[in-house]
Amino acid sequence: MIKLSDKLYNKDIDQQPIRKGFGDGMMILGKENPKVIALCCDLTDSVKLGEFAKTYPDRFVEVGVAEQNLAGLGAGFAHEGFIPYITSYATFSPGRNWDQIRVSICYSENNVKIIGSHAGISVGPDGATHQAMEDIAITRVLPHMTVLVPCDAIEARKATIAAAKLDGPVYIRLAREKTPQFTTDETPFEIGKAYVFREGKDVTIAAAGPQVYYALEAAEALSKEKISCEVVNLVSVKPLDTDTLTKSVKKTGCIVTAEEHQITGGVGSAVAESLSRSFPVPQEFVGMPDHFGESGEQSELISKWGMDSKAIIAAVKKVVKRK
């Protein structure tokens, strides 16, 4: 079994913002790889680059509030052999600068890492303008792009470090709010791999980001109702690990996907595109139902819009009936 936190289902599990793992990863990369540089659009501390900027001032470039320029600069630095991490909120990058990412980065095969922080509805009180709910769709559609959605801070650190070793554009999605820190240093991570975090036989729950923990919570609750859930962490949304997914649904016969993103074009869509070709099974989608968000607290929003463990439980009950 994969090693997860000893406190996995405890109320006092450590809570960390996923974005913090990115900052930790950058400090390791700063030391290990002189080619790694960071660019930021007036959000240095928000995206957890404060320490990197202070420690490696020669490898930190402040761009100002100019995300289109950010993407173009990333392409130019990559052209010169650097490994630029271009950072902002996901609504602005890859939101505002998608064309620059498409042409200057992906089509040009420039080795740029795009860091979209504060993604998902859980950014909360800032409201719908700042809640990136479309970023997975618009990045995974781009040829040459790799898309990673870490489920906690430790996985975000591993994704940040792994991205530097991959020669090509990578999008890493981060969240602002604290969520349970439930993976460990020993939990495996590899780009292109999905991981079975909990084994089960009645239903597969495949999730990415904070929803992986909610999926585990749902599985724990459902075990008391004699529904056995297999929980798969889809941190690598692209490339998607079709083998692991197919193997799981061959056993369970149905699947629920869960993400903090529009259902249209997101992780669930990626899974459907994949399983419809390898082993089609009934699927239910937990995600944003083609709607913009609103202001509110993290817990209020994921509850109201149906992206918490309760929503996953409801989707599981629905999908097992469709088998």
Binding site: D58, A66, N69, L73, A75, F77, H79, E80, V103, S108
Partner: protein
Amino acid sequence: MNIRELEKKANEIRQDIITMLVQAKSGHSAGPLGMADVFTALYLGGAMNIDPKNPDWEARDRFVLSCGHICPVWYAALAHAGFFPTKELSSLRKLGTRLQGHPHHTELPGAENTSGPLGQGLSQAAAMAYAGLKMKKEPWRVFCVMSDGEQEEGQIWEAAMFAAKYKLRNLVGIIDRNNIQIDGYTEDIMPLEPFADKWRAYGWHVLEVDGHNIQAIIDACNEARAIYEKPTVIICHTIPGKGVDFMEYSYEWHGKPPSPEEAKKALDELRTLGGKIRSEHE
């Protein structure tokens, strides 16, 4: 090459542009013809430090084409400089070609960037200049050719602010000020004037030259070396469609190729230097 020889080269490049476009049956005529002298100065006149036999030479001057639609002139100049055989020019826009309708970095020797959607080049050039000046601390320079219509894109001015902030003296912007864009004259579509003042206000050193005076273009590129505190932009005043009488000054020729008959007429005019050397060609 002396100036006379360079002028002849520019004429050959114009002929190649016409031939490429008529064979491709699509593409842009006015911009490439108008920029033939600038590209001749850059690639054959010594304005840039390059080695066509070694396109990835680390010490080369970098070149970024931001307005990708004028790529026929870039392709022709690269071929005449020796980056790839001139016979490949006839493959423009055809299936399997390295000469894509808008340039694609990774395919063609000497093509350092991808472009087409306007406004994206200066950011890339600015990062290269930043990397060269502040990180690698090397003396090479970065040239970025832009169109004037392209200046309507906001990203240009984001990059302009960035380059000025970091005093990227090794960055040279070159703007094709031909006053036309697809829908009409720039000053009717979205006025750019006072154009030089805008660049000055953004913290750049501004030079203005006759974009058909090869010596003046080379001199301006050299003069930019002396500017230590700022990036330099060279506004090249050009005639769209330059060299082909019926295309000159006309925005209708921005985005279309000549028909076979029009191409014959254009080539006849270019080969005879506007009818001055009629006897050889009749």
